[in-house]
Amino acid sequence: MTDTTAVLGYAWPLVVSPGEEVAFHLSSATLEGAEATLIRVRCADPDPDGPGLRFHQPGTAIDGPVALRNQPLRPGSCAIIPDAPALNRPGSLSLGLFLYPTAPLAGAQTILARWRDDTAEGWRLALNTEAQLEFTIGAGGRLWRATAPRAVIEREWIFVAASLDTGAGRIALTQSSLDPQAGRDTGCTTTAEGPGAITWATETALTIAAHALEPGAAPRTAGHFDGKIDRPRILSAALDAAAIRALAENPSPAPAEPDLVAAWDFSRDMSTDIIRDLSANRLDGTLRQMPMRAATGANWDGRTVQWTEAPELYGAIHFHSDDMHDAGWSPDLRFTIPAEWRSGFYALRLCARQDSDDPVESFVAFFVRAPLGKPRSELAFVASTATFLAYANSALRMDQVHAEAMLEGLLALSRDDVYLQEHRELGLSTYDTHSDGSGWCYSTARRPIINMRPRGATFNYGNDTHIIDWLEQIGQDHDIIVDDDIHRHGAQALAPYRCVITGSHPEYFSRSMIEAFDSYQRNGGRHIYLGGNGFYWRIGWHPTQPHAMEIRRGMNGLRTWEGEAGENALSFTGEPSGLWRSNGRPPQRLVGVGFDAQVFTRSYPYEWREPARDPRVAWAVEGIDLDAPLGDFGLRGGGAAGLEVDRVEPTLGSPPHLLWLATADRLGYGGVPTLEELRTLHRGAMGDQNARVRADIAFFPTARGGAVFSTGSIAWACALSHNNYDNSVSRLTGNVLRRFLDPSPFEGFDTQERSLEGICPEA
């Protein structure tokens, strides 16, 4: 059994151009070193029934031994405000904030602190292991503490006020429920002895949602909080709870208020990692590990669900004790990509213990792009980096109740999955929930991603390399372009290519990406979509941080977590998120077909339909028996139509000139329609009774000689290599590709004819 996790790493940047440098950030807890080899990936799927792992080894100066060290991962988000004179006013102090704990019994958690754990000095507002609020003062080796007599309730807003009155030598702590009825009232006040005078230790950072373990402006942290914090305030006077609350209720307190030390408004600079202080002291801070912004505050009342319309209702940040978006590892190897290298899926392979019965072979993936405006081929294959990021380190099968029932069989975990079960510090995917149960809405590439590389995963990355393998096999030259660049440069990234292929499951698209494809197709571009459930979710990319994406899943679609009310607009961009179908751009409008069902019981062949005999598409079916099933083979379930499938649907935008060439219908009881396909509740929705559960193959011409060909199935890519690549799936794909690379326009579609034979939109 090959050990794929004894050394892990990430490449930065994830995508490089020829001539640019990539750095490999590596870590091993057990190995002193490994043998590094840089490879270009042809096939990443180790299944011995398929092509198997296939790599090209160009030979580089960094091939050879590399020394390894252990670089820890420190998950947990928080805000850090470096020490400042305003924080050192001696004497009395008050704090106030709105609090929404989401895992109050998960262990002690710090909410707001100016505390050094190494010397137990400073002040700290926290939850103890019994979910009770505590306000602690430490100085000179002595501790003063007030503990609330009543535990907080999970996912209920409270207002918290704490104060130190040095004149009276008292500390006080008050919690007030915002919905104090029906058993939800945990309101209480407690006081305890406090110091009569105090001088605060300097060089101590102020922290929100964690506390510092050490002095300095960038301390390591612990005691990470799960939940939302809204409108925190600090005052240099001992005020009563009502006065503190009044200051917190006001989203914009007067900066000149003389006792006001700090008043943060988390709704400012929403897309950044900066938090803004509204007080005259300007104690702005920095967020670590990307907690969720654009979260509803305690004052959110449902008047809008879009934070951009009323940012003052979105003054909360949802912190998670397991947020992980930047491993912060130091680089161990650097390599400048030679200018003449092909674009492609690349990886650094790390091997060790080759003679043992547990040899190490681990990969760190990266992509070499074809530089913008400098195509080296007429064909581009898109690396679906947005989708790879969305799925990065998914622990869904381990964590979610439905997984085995959905997949219709025992879960088969790779060694990577087994590692991830134990090592949640890697940070999970946007399919997962945080340890507090809330959805994971960001994913970034500054951390090891163990399911975006050869060997382990048989979805997305691995499936897409079957298309690369097939292109290599037929000798078809191609460039690799990536989602990140299509977002950033729009249609320019696609325009140089006669034809662009999207892969097995290009599911996640920003508005800029969708518009790029739309523009490309309208301007003569040819698009071959060899997948299923593509162009489905609307995402955002971070405006400045590379390789960082966001999804808010909302309350519709095949979602493994449901977005919270009011929290379904993207913090990165202010745009709505959710399904593209719910955002006016159903996939059918772009590629003729759109997601309709999952089928994991088995995969199926397609049957040809009458339009396949249309002379206008004779080039597509040349050499193919139209009376025989299409794709009754394949590595995923024994068919070319399976896993996730798309269908033609005129009511959602499949165009009038579309030719519906083939269909895999009658998918059995294992064909389960996606949630947005059901308008009302009724039995009979599964594939054994529902003709709308199916995979369709479609072709249509677009403006200026462009065209689209879609196969509507994730399993398609894994059928290409069947029978040594000599099969109907391969032949059809090859016929279409050859024609799409031929610039001559598609004739006979410029009439008023409507070719949607046999499709009756629902009345």
Binding site: R155, A395, E404, G409, V418
Partner: protein, 114 residues
């Protein structure tokens, strides 16, 4: 917050329905009768206690029985003495263990316990 309840699958299992066990043994990937579909949903939804899984030893060739701990960060329990060279054998072995957990009755010829 919408969550999936592991206790939600509540189709009553009839210990006398050994015909369903036999149907599954003969055809673990289906298609299955209505009642066997319901039985499998019951077994697969909850996992009947900590969920049995497979750990891939050789891709598409060899798998070891494992069990999820039901808690994040805790290692997968593995059973090195229970290695399967076919998914059908693995499905049947886990089916038999779940049958016993649900009905209190052993299925004969189901292989050894972990």
């Amino acid at each position: 917050m919408l969550v999936n309840d592991p206790e939600a699958a509540h189709w009553p299992v009839d210990p006398s329905r050994l015909d369903l066990a036999e149907e599954f043994r003969r055809k673990p990937r289906g298609p299955h009768s209505d009642d066997l579909q319901k039985l499998l949903h019951r077994m697969r939804w909850s996992g009947v206690g900590r969920r049995y899984v497979l750990v891939t030893l050789e891709p598409n060739r060899r798998w070891m029985l494992g069990r999820l701990p039901g808690k994040r960060g805790v290692p997968v329990e593995t059973f090195p003495n229970r290695v399967f060279t076919s998914l059908a054998d693995a499905e049947w072995a886990v089916f038999a263990m779940r049958w016993e957990a649900l009905t209190g009755q052993k299925i004969e010829n189901a292989g050894n316990e972990p």
